[in-house]
């Protein structure tokens, strides 16, 4: 019996140590937090944008070299920002600078936001359209630092090849100004994919978490936009889903004319779609200005990049522009120490006024910002941004980003799951409707329930 006890003891000890060892690996990647330097305050920035993670790290190092102030940058993985923030902000060494995605995010975090109305930083913002204020408008709690645009990115070369085929539906991209026209072109292109040497008209509409936000969030913005526009509102507690048939039509178009079978979408990632586009295997790719870094440097030359609005068949859509807005608002943690808050404000100000900061933000990250300090010479080289600017200057009406009014993460996930089930043939479109309309009311009620 003693032998057995010994055996059990050994085994249990083994089991426990395994548990302990797996639990420990977590913090290893977060560098810089504890390095000691002679400075009164320090900055901890929890970054939302994985595509700019390296650039932020480099910029933080440059700032530390220049001023001696410690700046830690941690980037949350795609789709995990809220959960990372929730656990990070409860820590002793909490982020001093974090991001919220808009009004709904601000509702969660307003108690943590420092009033920025007296900061130098805020004085550079061109318009109050780019800030989030407290309920009584007395405080500035969040300031957008990047303005982004998305639409349907296309490959001009493939498109030109298509226009040269016999029986092409259009002879120039400018002829596409409605959903019906776009659909004709896409379906015709799909049927000629072998002739054009492509795998599909659209890149795969992957529903992996690295890609599903393009559809459950960004694409869903359009039916929401047209409904809000009809009703003359900018947020709602109960959506009606007036334009869900349009949502279905464009989703059908995406999944039936792409590089892969609709039943395989769940395994397709954002990288898959980027790769397909940048290797010239597909012509159309729904994404935004931020995707330039991932696309560039491959088979598609910069001058071959184009972007058109996402037409869904709404009223007066020939005047519809690209979707322009922000879901990146900077907030300063008011629970941080005086010194840290000051260090953070200095850092933010430095980022948008110093030459190094401006150069990094506009050239390395390729961001368009709402600050007056970014003068003519600090406009990004990103060709997609240039297209976006041309659209803004034309007579087209930009579509605002309304997805920050979506009620919760659960809502987005449920709509995403329903879209996927519809695509792979295991669910009906009605499930999307239910998740969209009833889910909206339910999530709003659940989130505001005291």
């Amino acid at each position: 019996m003693r032998k057995f006890k010994k055996l059990s003891a050994c085994v249990l000890a083994l089991a426990m140590t395994t548990g302990m060892l797996t639990g420990c690996g977590d913090d290893a990647g977060k560098d810089g937090g504890s390095s000691k330097k002679e400075a009164s305050g320090k900055v901890y920035y929890l970054n939302f944008k994985p595509e700019a993670a390296d650039q932020w790290k480099a910029l933080a190092e440059a700032y530390t070299d220049e001023t001696g102030v410690d700046v830690t940058v941690v980037t949350a993985a795609s789709g995990t920002y809220e959960s990372t923030l929730k656990s990070e902000i409860a820590k002793e060494e909490a982020p001093t600078l974090f991001q919220v995605n808009g009004p709904v995010g601000m509702a969660t975090w307003k108690d943590y936001c420092y009033d920025l109305s007296n900061s130098d930083f805020y004085s550079h913002v061109k318009s109050d359209d780019f800030v989030l204020k407290s309920d009584d408008d007395s405080q500035v709690l969040g300031v957008a630092y990047v303005i982004e645009t998305y639409g349907i990115i296309y490959n001009k070369k493939i498109f030109a090849d298509y226009c040269a085929t016999s029986g092409a539906k259009v002879s120039d991209i400018s002829e596409i100004n409605s959903f019906d026209k776009f659909k004709e072109v896409v379906e015709d292109m799909q049927s000629k994919k072998d002739e054009l040497g492509i795998l599909g008209a659209f890149t795969s509409a992957g529903m992996d978490s690295s890609s599903d936000w393009r559809f459950k969030t960004h694409l869903a913005n359009l039916p929401i936009y047209y409904e809000y526009k009809d009703d003359g509102i900018d947020t709602t507690d109960a959506i009606k889903g007036t334009y869900l048939d349009n949502y279905k039509a464009i989703w059908d178009l995406y999944i039936n004319n792409s590089t892969c079978e609709p039943s395989l979408l769940s395994g397709k990632t954002g990288e898959d779609a980027t790769a397909e586009f940048s290797l010239g295997e597909a012509c159309f790719y729904q994404n935004g200005t931020w995707a330039y870094g991932d696309i560039s440097g491959n088979d598609v030359a910069d001058e071959d990049l184009g972007m058109i609005p996402i037409y869904v068949g709404g009223e007066g859509e020939d005047k519809q522009g690209l979707c322009t807005g922000s879901e990146n608002y900077w907030c300063v943690n008011k629970n941080a120490s005086e010194d840290d808050i000051k260090a953070t404000l200095d850092f933010m100000n430095w980022c948008i006024t110093s030459d190094t900061g401006r150069d990094s933000i506009c050239n390395d990250m390729g961001f368009v910002t709402p600050f007056d300090s970014f003068t003519e010479e600090y406009q990004p080289e990103n060709p997609l941004v240039k297209i976006a600017n041309e659209y803004v200057e034309s007579d087209k009406t930009p579509v605002p980003w309304l997805f920050p009014t979506m009620p919760s993460e659960t809502w987005k996930n449920n709509v995403g799951s329903a879209l996927l089930e519809y695509a792979q043939g295991t669910g009906e479109w009605d499930a999307v409707k239910t998740a969209f309309v009833e889910g909206w009311a339910k999530e709003r009620a659940a989130s505001s329930d005291e």
Binding site: L7, G25, Q424, T426
Partner: protein, 280 residues
């Protein structure tokens, strides 16, 4: 000797005890307290009583996850233990290269759950590609995908425990049995099995709790698709916690209920198999 043990036991015990309090007791107590609170982050809680608990079953997703997890646990506990024991039996026989085999079988255990999940997702989706489907096609696919993954990861670990147990069966008992003329089946059923009962207790306990608590593999392999149908309890709790503003407390309350369920089952299992252990 006795005296010095009495004198110095705190030196050996206290560090571990402290670690246990900081790493286990404190968060556990805090977790229970938080389940009665409304909070955004764990440091700014506001007491609201039993409200969170009333919301646990309000949507049916918790009940579904509970059944799904129970089915998953039953299947994996049986498969893992039977196969691990069989392999252990084979690898305690005198076969060439048995140490290599043991190492190979044990190795999957050294890979983290998330990595395993993604690797198996690629593998299984690659196979399902032949029929034009993916893991998220139905909850059944996800279920068996998880079972395969779990078996692959756990069998080697349990095998090592069973090998240790089998090797501990005293040679004289086996010899005596052989002299008495038992056949192979009787040897297994009446001699070896009762003698390795302590290992069985440990292994069933580990597989049972591991299956119930499974999280990272679930997150990486299916992420609950399709429509939360392949969501195990731990993932359901995680998603409740982070899915909506103001629902953190409900997630916490689910976690407490989850703890109670696992504790009851584990204690019952322990009692049951312990009773079958024989004095040597």
């Amino acid at each position: 000797m006795q005296n010095s043990i009495k004198k110095y036991f705190p030196v050996f015990l206290l560090p571990t005890f402290l670690a246990f309090i900081i790493g286990f007791i404190a968060p556990f107590a805090m977790g229970i307290y938080l389940s009665f609170c409304k909070f955004t982050t764990v440091t700014d809680a506001q007491f609201i009583g039993f409200k969170n608990y009333t919301k646990i079953f309000s949507e049916g997703d918790f009940t579904h996850a509970l059944w799904y997890t129970s089915a998953f646990t039953v299947v994996t506990v049986i498969i893992i233990n039977v196969i691990a024991f069989a392999i252990a039996l084979a690898l305690t026989k005198k076969i060439k290269g048995r140490n290599t085999f043991r190492t190979v079988f044990f190795m999957p255990n050294l890979i983290g759950g998330i990595v395993l999940g993604y690797i198996w997702q690629l593998l299984l989706n690659g196979i399902l590609l032949n029929v034009g489907k993916t893991l998220s096609y139905s909850a059944t696919y996800g279920f068996w995908g998880l079972v395969i993954l779990m078996c692959w990861q756990q069998i080697g670990y349990m095998m090592i425990i069973y090998i240790a147990g089998i090797q501990n069966v005293p040679g004289d008992i086996i010899e005596a049995a052989q002299v008495d003329g038992v056949n192979k089946w009787q040897m297994l059923k009446d001699i070896i099995l009762p003698m390795v009962m302590p290992s069985i207790t440990v292994c069933t306990f580990l597989t049972l709790t591991n299956s119930f608590k499974l999280f990272d593999q679930n997150l990486a392999l299916t992420n609950g698709e399709p429509s939360n149908m392949s969501e195990l309890l731990a993932l359901n709790i995680y998603r409740t916690f982070y899915g909506r503003n103001g629902w953190e407390g409900v997630g916490q309350a689910k976690a407490v209920v989850f703890f109670i369920i696992v504790a009851i089952i584990a204690v019952a299992q322990n009692k049951l198999t312990r009773a079958k252990e024989v004095e040597q």
